[in-house]
């Protein structure tokens, strides 16, 4: 006999996609996991809404690029009237990346790429399952009534040194990074960021941040110099390492095995930062599921770096910061809105 408790623990998922093939594949593939149950599928927003009300799913996967369906409007309505963790399924196109980003800003918790040429259904399945598990734990911010005005940028630093800021994030990280980076002054220390996200997405994300921040933000390319006033975002599907040549810091962007199932991985960035920047670095670990970054942050701390973890209350998923705190690699635990100040205090 099946244990009722065991059934209750399954994560209830609703798949919203206009393609019957995708609905079928998702249902079949996801149902292989003992902790996930696809409770329904929907080809359009009206059926989706009915099923959400009736079936009470915990997580929704949503294709926002459907020819006859305005997925973004559906998402916005959902976030207003029936907030639920939504994972966006996005194509590998540039347009797909932009839409997915807008979806994240509208309240979706994460984005996963549709399989493409170099990215198989198998890869996607693993990522999707990990993201569904994280999403099921996600704490949704209350539906946002547009904040009045833009966040107040901080005053310029009087001096910038050879400091380097290294930041790692996963689920919920795009919004957290936006909150932190938009508050950084134009001459902030050179900043390197790993945010777990698909390849098509990092360019759009970097471009979006570039438009919002006082610093320059760009997707990192191999060999880019880490200089004050510039934020480098690791490109999806590549690891990014900090390196040093004389007085110059630069990044190496390269292929390599996934670490904690991630590429880019926060640990790869943090460990290289510990090695090459030592006490000149500040390490920040933000919201996200899993343990990526915890070991790296500890190495940074041991090498003399100051370290910060986002607090539980402001995390969408309190996983990576929790693990980093548990390992003992964290100096300061701070709520999201104070992290930029903490960073500046540490580099000041």
């Amino acid at each position: 006999m099946l244990d009722q408790n065991c059934l209750d623990k399954k994560i209830r998922v609703l798949v919203v996609d206009d393609s019957a093939i995708v609905r079928k594949i998702f249902s079949e593939e996801l149902s292989r996991y003992p902790d996930i149950e696809v409770v329904g599928t929907a080809p359009d927003p009206f059926v989706a809404r009915d099923k959400i009300m009736r079936l009470k799913p915990q997580v929704i996967t949503l294709d926002i690029e459907m020819p006859r369906m305005d997925g973004l409007t559906f998402l916005k309505k959902l976030m207003r009237y029936q907030p639920l963790p939504v994972i966006i399924v996005s194509s590998l196109t540039k347009e797909g990346g932009k839409l997915a980003l807008e979806a994240i800003e509208s309240g979706a918790v994460d984005v996963v790429s549709k399989p493409g040429s170099s990215f198989t259904v198998g890869d996607m399945k693993e990522q999707l399952v990990a993201k569904i598990r994280a999403a099921a734990l996600a704490r949704l911010p209350r539906p946002e009534t547009k904040p009045a005005g833009t966040p107040e940028p901080m005053a310029a630093l009087t001096c910038t040194t050879h400091k380097v800021i290294a930041i790692g994030a996963s689920t919920g990280g795009t919004e957290a990074l936006k909150c932190i980076l938009t508050k950084m002054p134009p001459n902030s220390p050179g900043t390197v960021v790993v945010q777990h996200m698909p390849a098509n997405f990092t360019t759009a994300f970097a471009n979006r941040l570039d438009g919002l921040c006082q610093t320059r933000v760009k997707e990192a390319a191999d060999g880019d110099t880490v200089i004050p006033g510039t934020v480098l975002i690791a490109p999806g599907n590549f690891h990014m390492l900090l390196k040093r040549s004389g007085a110059r810091y630069y990044v190496e962007v390269k292929d390599g095995p996934r670490v904690h199932h991630q590429r880019p991985a926060v640990d790869v960035l943090f460990k290289s930062t510990a090695k090459f920047a030592g006490a000149n670095a500040v390490g920040v670990i933000l919201t996200g599921m899993g343990a990526d970054g915890a070991e790296g942050l500890l190495e940074m701390k041991r090498a003399g770096a100051a370290t910060i973890a986002q607090d539980e209350k402001t995390c969408v998923v309190f996983g990576m910061p929790k693990e980093a705190i548990r390992l003992g690699g964290v100096d300061t635990v701070a709520p999201l809105e104070q992290i930029s100040q903490e960073i500046l205090k540490m580099v000041g």
């Binding site: 393609s19 093939i21 059926v47 409007t73």
Partner: protein, 143 residues
């Protein structure tokens, strides 16, 4: 699939009539909300997911026209199609209503089959209330 309707009219008997006509028309009605004026309508909309609005124009307080202005100013509410029903239907009146963003103007009284057709039309589904004939690309998927 079903659609949530908001009926806005200051006469409760008129709301009941409209509700009844929509119900017997065969329209796939999910929830049906009612409001006696524009303000009540906006209150309903702040809490409830509505797919289509059927509204009178002349109401005490926030009128139908004022409500259209409010809807237009909201990123999400502006997406909801509004059908204005009225007994007075001068060309000028119709023009002003349409220019404020109403999708259709319907003179009272109306027939069930007419209102069903109009409801489906403004929502953007076919005559049977289906969202679309799901068309798979010829290669068998959009992967």
């Amino acid at each position: 699939m079903s659609f949530n309707v908001l009926i806005v009219d200051d006469s409760s008997s008129m709301r009941a009539v409209i509700r009844k006509i929509v119900a017997i028309s065969g329209f796939k009605m999910g929830r049906c909300y009612e409001a006696a004026n524009g303000q009540e309508a906006l209150d309903v909309l702040s809490e409830n997911w509505v797919d289509v609005i059927i509204s009178d124009i002349n109401m005490p307080g926030v009128s139908g026209l004022d409500m259209l202005d409010h809807l237009k100013a909201d990123d999400l509410l502006k997406e909801i199609p509004v059908i204005v029903v009225s007994t007075e239907g001068s060309d000028e009146r119709i023009r002003s209503v349409m220019s404020k963003g109403a999708k259709r103007f319907v003179r009272k009284p109306f027939l069930p089959e007419d209102i069903r057709k109009i409801l489906y039309e403004v929502i953007g589904v076919d005559n049977e209330g289906r969202y679309c004939d799901v068309q798979e690309p010829p290669d068998g998927g959009d992967f």
